[in-house]
Subunit: 141 residues, 4 copies
Amino acid sequence: MENNIYFRRANYYETDKMGIVHHSNHIRYFEEARIFFMKNIGCDVAEMEENGIIIPNVDAYAKYHSPIRFDDEVEIEVKLVKFTGAVMGFDYTARFKDSKVTASVGHTEHCFVNSDFKPMSLKRKYPEYFEKLKNNISLSE
Amino acid sequence: MENNIYFRRANYYETDKMGIVHHSNHIRYFEEARIFFMKNIGCDVAEMEENGIIIPNVDAYAKYHSPIRFDDEVEIEVKLVKFTGAVMGFDYTARFKDSKVTASVGHTEHCFVNSDFKPMSLKRKYPEYFEKLKNNISLSE
Amino acid sequence: MENNIYFRRANYYETDKMGIVHHSNHIRYFEEARIFFMKNIGCDVAEMEENGIIIPNVDAYAKYHSPIRFDDEVEIEVKLVKFTGAVMGFDYTARFKDSKVTASVGHTEHCFVNSDFKPMSLKRKYPEYFEKLKNNISLSE
Amino acid sequence: MENNIYFRRANYYETDKMGIVHHSNHIRYFEEARIFFMKNIGCDVAEMEENGIIIPNVDAYAKYHSPIRFDDEVEIEVKLVKFTGAVMGFDYTARFKDSKVTASVGHTEHCFVNSDFKPMSLKRKYPEYFEKLKNNISLSE
């Protein structure tokens, strides 16, 4: 099992009257995949938040290629493509599990703040998380 | 304008592939109406939370009479039907604004806890909120 | 693996500012569990909808015992407790996977309609689904 | 009242455990604003769908400037910045109603398809909608 491929099935309540998963939910799928991947590399978001590290989105983008329908099984591949210590960026590809056809691609960027939403230096305050993220940046292909 | 009738329009993303507002969203409409009503009687939920009063749901019920569709205008009437200081209960009726046909009815109960989710006595710690709620209980008709 | 116990993890976006999974999402978890169970007994909801059988909620109830937090693993046990051919009812218990402590319990009722939301007789039109549901009613304990 | 400025208040259930409106919900706010604006210029999305015109998202982008909190009043300004007949694009700015501080900005693109998700020519099949959209493109400032 790859540490950066997250599987899930489309829920009924995620569809809209178009009969497809609402576009905003792809952004939520990306979040699930990102949190799954981060846990796998030793950066458990629940634990990081308990340590006072809040990781808000700086931005979010999704491009829709093929609609996901109720009960479709999808896999979301996530890659850490940018990490400066202050900002990290992820690329996502959602594919239908069987056909491997692309459903959507996306990108999000995030920063690290404390509970007052003030920027924090991950490198100085949490060097162990810093190293784990640094060591898991995807090299461009 | 009645202080206990809340208006809103059904959003596209609230529909599901059945072409109607997903049943879980009625529970969310009830929440919006309850928060609107509480603010109107001097119990602003945002302010109460800042004062350390958390108001989780004890339960939630909805019965669906007629489906709400995208862009339908609905009014949600809310009544405080129970208030003991420890627990409060609300009745809801969602109606189509124009026809006044009932879309759904519901009921929720809530308690008051501190930020550690320990029960608190509203009467002792926040007598002003206690009085406002007590004074706004709907008598049965 | 039991055919009526559905596992899932609480997602970040399902929490609210109270720090717990929003109460409306328990209703959504119940839906996921119900659809999982129905597929397991041969009543695939996606397939039933393709056959023109729409299964709206008649009502929904949840009682909250213990808050679910981000990343908690929960299991939702679902039982078909009522089936008349026109109406079916399910009981749900959501538990924390490890401790087996109850997070919430619930009940939903559903009817069968065609795409115009007119009631349909499952027994007459789809005897095979009728039999499968009838054979999977939980006897009271 | 401007036809392209949509007002709403942040709901409790839209917040997450960070205490702010979840980033995916900005995408939903943009949808509300877009549908409001389209109705105002004579392109009622509910009516268009009844006429068989489905308008899926091609992409969606949001950049987050300042977190929206529970009960904040926001205004979302929407501009039609691109319209080719086959594709339309909108820019969004969400601001806090009182301070006019920017909460987020965004952009979405959409196409027009029939109920089988095949591209359709709005110009040929629905010239009246085509004209209304063409006449409401925002000129760059």
